[in-house]
């Protein structure tokens, strides 16, 4: 599962996800890509689950790029704990994504297979997604 190797701060503030993803919103590596349509925190488990969905569907050949990295630690307080007494301990890693961000890119497989694989991966994510292609005039 994806997570940072080294971190400077164990806990970070929540932050806000304003605006759109101007960076990372164009296809750079593959021929087909999965793009998110709303903002979200995508956990490393969800990213991994989507990756597995793609690789199981494609079976052989092709190449996959994961364009997001879960570098934000989320904390949780233990169950049945009274409020206060400080911030909880880090529990999971998330990638903070804004609308328009590309999550996966794939190439080396035919269009039908790539689209179905990305659709399956999209089902693993907590956001609405769409599939875009390099041949699209908006990607030129």
């Amino acid at each position: 599962m994806l997570s940072p190797k080294n971190i400077r701060f164990r806990k970070v503030q929540k932050g806000r996800r304003r605006g759109m993803a101007y960076r990372g919103s164009k296809i750079n590596f593959g021929d087909y890509a999965l793009q998110v349509l709303s903002d979200a925190w995508i956990t490393n488990r969800q990213i991994e689950s989507g990756r597995i969905a793609i690789s199981h569907h494609v079976k052989r050949g092709g190449r996959l790029w994961i364009r997001v990295f879960p570098d934000k630690p989320l904390t949780k307080k233990p169950l049945e704990t009274r409020m206060g007494k400080g911030k909880g301990s880090p529990e999971l890693w998330v990638a903070s994504v804004r609308p328009g961000r590309i999550i996966y890119e794939i190439r080396g497989v035919d269009e039908k297979l790539a689209r179905e694989a990305l659709r399956r991966a999209g089902n693993k994510l907590p956001v609405k997604t769409r599939i875009i292609s390099r041949e699209d005039v908006y990607e030129m």
Partner: protein
Amino acid sequence: MTNEFEFPVELKEAAGKGAARKVRAAGMVPGILYGHDTEPVMVTFEERLLVKALSTPAGRNIFLKFKSEAKELDGAKILIKDLQVHPLKRRFVHADFYKLDPNRAITAEVPLRMEGTAVGQKLGGILQIARHALEVSCLPDALPEAITVDISSLGFGDSIHISDIEEPEGVTFLQPGKLAVCAIVAPAASVEDEGEVEGEEEEVEEERSTESEEETE
């Protein structure tokens, strides 16, 4: 050679984001025309016409022939220099047009087309494309639609560099010849998690882009 596409445009009077937003609200797209020894001129155009122009085989490297009531715009031969796209709505937000001078060399990106199936691919290798387009310099009339690269002789581990590609007549490649264009690589062994289904082999390679590390929120 790249074809010409008749492209009706109108002059845009007001500058600034307010004016640009009004243009977009009216279903048009704002743009700017510039070139050597030419004063920049603001224009507006219909998005569907740009989509139509880009849908031709020449893609971004199509020459537009401006059609307008404004004298400074009418008949100008244009190359699309830059396009801004709304990341979510998938609409053009702005376009830069470059006025061509037939005697002045231009710099453009020409797409690469891989031809054939490599020997290495038949043996199970994966074609890894490092570059989808090449930066070239040439006179406008010599601008090719695409540069074809024959990959049929590539075996496992072989690669093609820019220096291996023959320059079309009148065209100069601007990037160093040592840069790779494509390679045939062996499919990487699967990197499955322990919790995954056992005994299932995977050949889908994974690679985290360096770009993903850029964004730290």
